[in-house]
Amino acid sequence: MNRSRLMKSAQEPIRAILGDRLALVGLAVLLSIIAMALFAPLLSTHAPLAVNEREEGSLFTRSVDGEQVRWLASPPLGNATLNAADYRDGLGMAVGRDGVVWRYAEGDWSRLDTPLSTTLHAVNIREDGATLVAGARGTVALWTPDGSWQTYDMPEPLNVNGIAWRDAGTALLVGGGETIWRLDMASGEVTSLESPVGRGFDLNAVALDVDGSAWLVGDRGLALHLASDADTPSLERLPGNRELNHIHIADSGAGLIVGERGTLLVRDDAEASWQSQDAPDSRAMRAGWITDDGHAFAVGRSGIVFEREPGGDWQLMPSDEERHLRTLMVTEEHYFALGSDRFVNRLAPPSGEHWFGTDHLGRDLFSQNVHGSQIALLVGFLGAALVVLIGANVGLVAGYFRGRTETVLMRTVDVMYGIPFEPFALILVLLFEPSLFIVILAVSLLTWRTVARLIRSQVLSLRERPFVKAARVAGASDLRIMYLHIFPNVMPLVFLELAIIVGVSIIAEATLSFLGLGPPQSISWGGILHNARLSGAWREAWWWNLPPGLLIMITVLSVFFISRSLELVANPRLRARR
């Protein structure tokens, strides 16, 4: 009989919620948030703390605004990294990952269909526009302006890093392990040329000089010179012994070699010797380009661009974004820098890939927000349950026994009322390590006071009711009267307080996490906002601030709506007046 009474007292709040439209909406919202927390791993599109990277065929264009030179990001060319580019007489070609080839003509970029699928590392254009591309695993192919492709078989599947037309009928290819191949275009025959060093260093680039000879550069400052009629290259001594990555020689004979740790070697004309020049920054330079009059450019990782006016010093130029630049292409009108490895996708606005954008470390914010619901609800419900458990029992005991018990308990409540919440939580964290336990402890230690007071005042009037007196006369024990006779009658109030305190706990948790006092290495809505504030990027990245706050708000709001309908049960006087 008593059980049925308890059941009945639990049924009433449920009926109240179902009867109130706002409460029903609140319940629906709360249930979806709970579902979000339960199914967070399924719902999130990414691992919430994983750094997301992106790849694109970055295209930067040099722009001059008065005196100010800046390399601006243009719309990227597809999503594959571009490794090499060449330009001659109105035709530009850029090649990259997975056999991607882009053609530049009359100011427009277009993607060519290719039969290739391996990553391409080198490209060189012949005077008539015929273009050789080469890349990983011995991939070599010839494109002719009529649109046809012809592939060549190499003797070994070695990576080809550099390619240059030696004359109209033969090409030089260089690659890993000091490989130098001479390809006869008509027969497709490949002749292997022997390097004078023979220590297996990688060769990274090759360029044809104005006199028809070829320059080959590679690891450890290795530089080889192949005379126009010779079959054996000779070793050249260049300043420095850093890895050399790229060589470019203009038609005028001006030349530029770039390499690791800001290595820049320049010669002003065909007769001059290679001179080492000071770089403004000792980063790895990936590619260089020099014009006929000696205007030189070099690019590297993280959007590094160096420039040198003819006869001047190298300067570091500002560029838009930290893309890894891998190659340069200079036309009559434009200066292009191309590249981009995988780069960290920082502070990306919302997109199809990242619905709520990314944070300063390139982590997916949608997934973080989804996972954040777990801590909010855990602290919300666990904290509220604990609070109501303590508060209701203290109130029940104090109200029922009265006398000294009541005095002691209520004085304790008075003391608790003198403790401000946030500072108390701060002190707790100062003394102990921040953890989920401390957060829940702080919330529950300071919120049970309200519940205790409310329940006590309710119990005070209940204990004088006839049914309690009847139970006492019938010989029921104190515990029995308290928990089986009085408690069901304060249930509506308990439910009401439970609902209110869930909301209070969620806000309290968010507040502590926002102040950086939440458990480290966990994801919570307040923690997301803490990160946003700490990074300083929240002033621009609205997609970082907005969702966690809105989620907190609708969660707490839904709980408040539910509690308002419970209020009608707890305080029937209100019902009559609505």
Partner: protein, 326 residues
């Protein structure tokens, strides 16, 4: 009359007791959590003798009971010790920060209650209407949104987006002020006050609004309202002159409690708006392990809350003749 007086005396005594208990708890909590509070102060490479000298200069070499009584005696004299971080007396720092906090919180709370209570009364009059529903909704919405988030969004919109208002600090730097009042009686200060005060006010708005509305609904059922109606008084007069006056009591109570808690400041608002108040100071003192400052700030806040709670009880005895003095 004498029962009222003895009741008041007992309440004051209870207040002091609570404060004493909190001070004691605080002392032992700190000694428990931080066995060596000077750890933050002592730098590497000190000899044990120098270390011991520093500990002795803070009285930490004495037995814990002696430390406790010295601590209590100092508090009674208003001496809160010496801040590790600022290398200045804690009391001076705290009074200044408390002033900064109150000059932000008081206008905000007054605004919230000045708007919220009349609005709540009006909503109760129009109960069930669309205005009533949306009023409750807006009040609850700002109550549900974490204050630091509302602050951040306000900064984004009015500070950065529109550029109307400053978003950090109490004054434009650098400024010179010879004292507290010199600092705040300027247009520049008012300019800095608007945004944080509005954010706090919006958060607190829901409380008086809902309390007023619900109490009014209860009061409408009382006999004296029926009486007023029977006398043929206009509805507006019944609302404000009869019902509202009687519904104000819970609102006033809540107001006093809110002001008491305001001393602790809304730590988050002070953090978001870089307001040099007591709440932000306690956060900083926790970060820098400046335990004398943290301890004293907390005690001052607790004293404030207890005093205001006491004031509520006294107010009750004066405003509501039905209160029994048990």
């Amino acid at each position: 009359m004498s029962s009222r007086r003895s009741y008041l005396i007992r309440r004051v005594l209870h207040g002091f007791m609570a404060l004493f208990i909190i001070a004691t708890l605080l002392f032992f909590l700190f000694r428990l959590g931080l066995p060596d509070p000077t750890a933050a102060l002592i730098t590497e490479g000190l000899t044990p003798e120098e270390r011991e000298r520093i500990r002795a200069s803070f009285g930490l070499d004495r037995p814990i009971w002696e430390q406790y009584f010295i601590y209590l005696a100092n508090i009674v004299q208003g001496d809160f010790g010496y801040s590790f971080h600022y290398r200045a007396p804690v009391a001076d720092i705290i009074w200044e920060r408390l002033g900064n906090t109150m000059i932000l919180m008081l206008p905000a709370i007054v605004l919230a209650y000045g708007v919220g209570a009349p609005l709540g009364a009006w909503l109760s009059w129009r109960r069930g209407s669309r205005a009533d529903t949306s009023g409750i909704f807006v009040g609850l919405m700002f109550r549900s949104a974490p204050m630091f988030w509302t602050g951040m969004i306000a900064i984004l919109i009015f500070g950065i987006g529109l550029g109307w208002l400053p978003t950090s600090g109490m004054r434009t730097l650098p400024y010179e002020a010879s004292g507290f009042f010199d600092k705040i009686f300027t247009l520049d200060f008012l300019h800095h006050l608007i945004l944080p005060a509005l954010v706090v006010a919006l958060y607190y708005l829901g409380s008086p609004l809902l309390i007023m509305r619900n109490t009014m609904l209860e009061v409408y059922g009382e006999d004296f309202i029926e009486m007023a109606r029977a006398k043929g008084l206009p509805e507006r007069r019944i609302l404000y002159a009869h019902a509202a006056r009687n519904a104000l009591l819970p609102v006033v109570t809540q107001l006093a409690v809110t002001i008491g808690l305001a001393a602790g400041g809304q730590v988050v608002v002070e953090v978001v708006f870089s307001w040099p108040g007591l709440g932000r100071e306690i956060l900083n003192s926790v970060r820098t392990s400046d335990f004398p400052l943290a301890q004293a700030s907390f005690l001052v806040m607790a004293a404030f809350v207890i005093t205001l709670n006491l004031l509520v009880d006294i107010l009750y005895t004066m405003l509501d003749p039905r209160v029994s003095f048990k």
